[in-house]
């Protein structure tokens, strides 16, 4: 990786032993290729990820957008290799970092990727940090484990990192415990840990979801500054269409374990090419205008143990035709130059052509899903499976 990227800040960090080992070709850092993950549970197999592919370049922010259960967090965890197996199993695909598949790497080697090269910021800082160790100790652990530093040097480094993420009084608070910090400050501590070894790729999984909006603004600004400063590739996982619009370069929209649309941020907001993206954009209330009724997408995201045949979005889709229900799920294809979408009718969605034959109204969809086949004719095993899913039933 490029450690020399022009910041004076690096002067006090010793030369990393991994330098030269990982060299991105043409700035291409991370390639995820046809990744598949399933969860084998007592109640059946939930197909959480069904062939996800994307690329990440240096200095780029890729946002993965999706609702709960769409597989966005599982994708991140699969890349990091932190999925619990069982129940999770990688059933296919590759994750290449600088051209090498990290999924098949021996654990020892992988440990040298995870942390120094690719690191992650989690959603809930309170549960991601260890409550019984001081925060400084936890940040310093990165230097102790990966760099073999002694306690004192590593703690000094932790202090300077805490200063970098703008924690006031870092030197005094380095020995404080996670519960003594506010939510925003804890998130800063996690970010400090994640960037400690100057990774080339940072994966942020809903980094601001648990925070208030004024604090969210602070954290997003910090992440943005750090990314600019270090030319990191940032994968931002979120369900917030507002956050994405502010920071992302490219967006991948996920639905039922697939990327259904991938494109430049400006184009996707201006004219979505997939009906799901379109529906999402129409269903968010806007701060700057008082709308009438929200155009909600009818129905619910599918149960991952029973993904509908055909295009997984077809029961909720206003554009759905017979082909959508019968043919295998449409692959992600280039609809317009540089814009990928997985829909048979993307051209029509793009144009939102008036002559398009809309086969179902929103009400039909709503009715079909609320009362329709799923709950009504639940077979006994299904019913139990559903029961076993329990509250939550999301990633």
């Amino acid at each position: 990786m490029t450690l020399s990227v022009g910041t004076g800040r690096k002067a006090d960090v010793e030369i990393l032993d991994t330098q030269g080992l990982w060299q991105p070709v043409d700035g291409l850092l991370l390639e995820v290729d046809q990744l598949q993950v399933e969860f084998r549970t007592r109640d059946g197999v939930a197909k959480a990820i069904n062939g996800v592919s994307f690329e990440l370049h240096q200095g780029e922010t890729l946002a993965i957008l999706g609702e709960s259960g769409s597989g966005k967090s599982v994708t991140a965890q699969a890349i990091m290799g932190i999925l619990d197996s069982p129940p999770a199993f990688l059933t296919g695909g590759e994750v290449r970092y600088c051209g090498r598949n990290i999924l098949t790497m021996p654990d020892e080697e992988r440990r040298r990727v995870r942390g120094p090269e690719i690191s992650m910021v989690f959603q809930d800082a309170l549960s991601a940090l260890n409550p019984v160790f001081p925060v400084g100790w936890q940040i310093a652990e990165m230097f102790r484990k990966h760099r073999g530093m002694n306690k004192r040097d590593s703690l000094d480094k932790a202090v300077s990192l805490m200063e970098r993420v703008q924690i006031p009084g870092a030197a005094q608070r380095v020995k404080a415990y996670p519960h003594q910090f506010s939510g925003g400050m804890r998130q800063r501590i996690m970010i400090a840990m994640a960037i400690a070894l100057d990774p080339a790729v940072l994966i942020a999984d809903e980094p601001t979801t648990a925070l208030d909006v004024t604090v969210q603004a602070q954290i997003m600004k910090l992440l943005n500054d750090l990314q600019q400063e270090r030319q990191m590739g940032l994968v931002l996982i979120t369900h917030d269409l507002g956050v994405v619009a502010d920071v992302a370069d490219r967006i991948a929209v996920m639905y039922a374990g697939r990327i259904v649309e991938q494109s430049d941020v400006f184009e996707i907001y201006a004219s979505p090419a997939h009906p799901y993206t379109k529906g999402l954009l129409e269903s968010v209330p806007r701060l700057d205008q008082k709308g009438q009724e929200l155009a909600a997408i009818g129905g619910l995201p599918p149960n991952l143990m029973r993904i509908p045949p055909g295009c997984p979005f077809n029961p909720r889709c206003r554009y759905a035709q017979d082909i959508c229900r019968v043919d295998p799920p449409p692959p992600l294809r280039e609809v317009v130059y540089g814009r990928m979408a997985a829909c048979h009718f993307s051209e029509l969605v793009l144009a939102d052509s008036p002559e398009l034959e809309v086969t179902q109204t929103v009400d039909d969809v709503q009715a079909a899903l609320e009362y329709g086949p799923e709950p009504e004719v639940v077979s006994e095993p299904d019913r139990i499976a559903e029961a076993g899913r329990g509250p939550g039933g999301q990633t």
Binding site: Y269, R286, P391
Partner: protein
Amino acid sequence: MTREVVLQAENLVKHYPIKAGVLRRTVGHVKALDGVSFELYKGETLGIVGESGCGKSTLARMLLRLEEPTAGKLTFDGVDVYSQKGAAMRRLRRDIQIVFQDPYTSLNPRKTVGDIVGEPFEIHTDVLPKGDRRQRVQQLLELVGLNPEHINRYPHQFSGGQRQRIGIARGLALNPKVIICDEPVSALDVSVQAQVVNLLGELQAGLGLAYIFIAHDLSVVRHISDRVGVMYLGKIVEIGDENQIYSRPTHPYTQALLSAVPMPDPTTRDSREQIVLTGDVPSPANPPPACRFHTRCWKAQEICSIEEPLLVARPDGESAHDSACHFAEPRVVV
């Protein structure tokens, strides 16, 4: 236009004692709510926004009299709520109902939907004769867009959005006049959230309900509210109709809050000015003196830490609305 006031809060105060030491002596107070006044008119929605810890949920509990006030007065339809006792209070409770935030924990997992939605009739037995209850519950389910045949199902058989509908049906059971919605959609996904917001809108139009809509999502609040109050550390700092608050906010906190909301439109990325506040919300156990926002405010001057600004009408460019700032002036932030 004269509008009928259904609910009137006057100077509501709730302090929770902090106890410490062996003798559990009171060493201080968490000032969760420190003088909140507002009126709720018939059939309108009053949105309450603010960050966590500002007292939004305490306010909800006070309005339902789930908490006894430290001071203040709450009037419902001319009746003083906090002085009612026994049967009279129970009767009053029918008219003010709540929809909770978390549809996963606010429904008893061991009860069927019919039991949950029908429970209000078990408590208020004189509302409906026993024989009619099941039918009424089915009507309610239909009203909120659920299949009435699902009356014997358990909460876990429903998705988050459907569960929230069950919670709403329960809230509607006794034909209340006011529903307090405490973050009713914040646990839901965007596409499902829109369905529930629409449902709340339809119910209001159909049944003439008044809502207190508490949320931290400013976009949702704008969408559903007629008037909006902004809270900071136990006080309302600005209140006005939806357009006044969002288009011509005069309080610096409101301005910062609005400017921090990311807009789902990448083209506004560079043109929009964002006011990034420093630091966190101070502890309500030890709030800053006088104006509580002065520690984070870029406009703060000496007077802000000496004299508390009152929540009174201040000009906002076109008209005037209530704002608690010495230096209130309108600023366009969205």
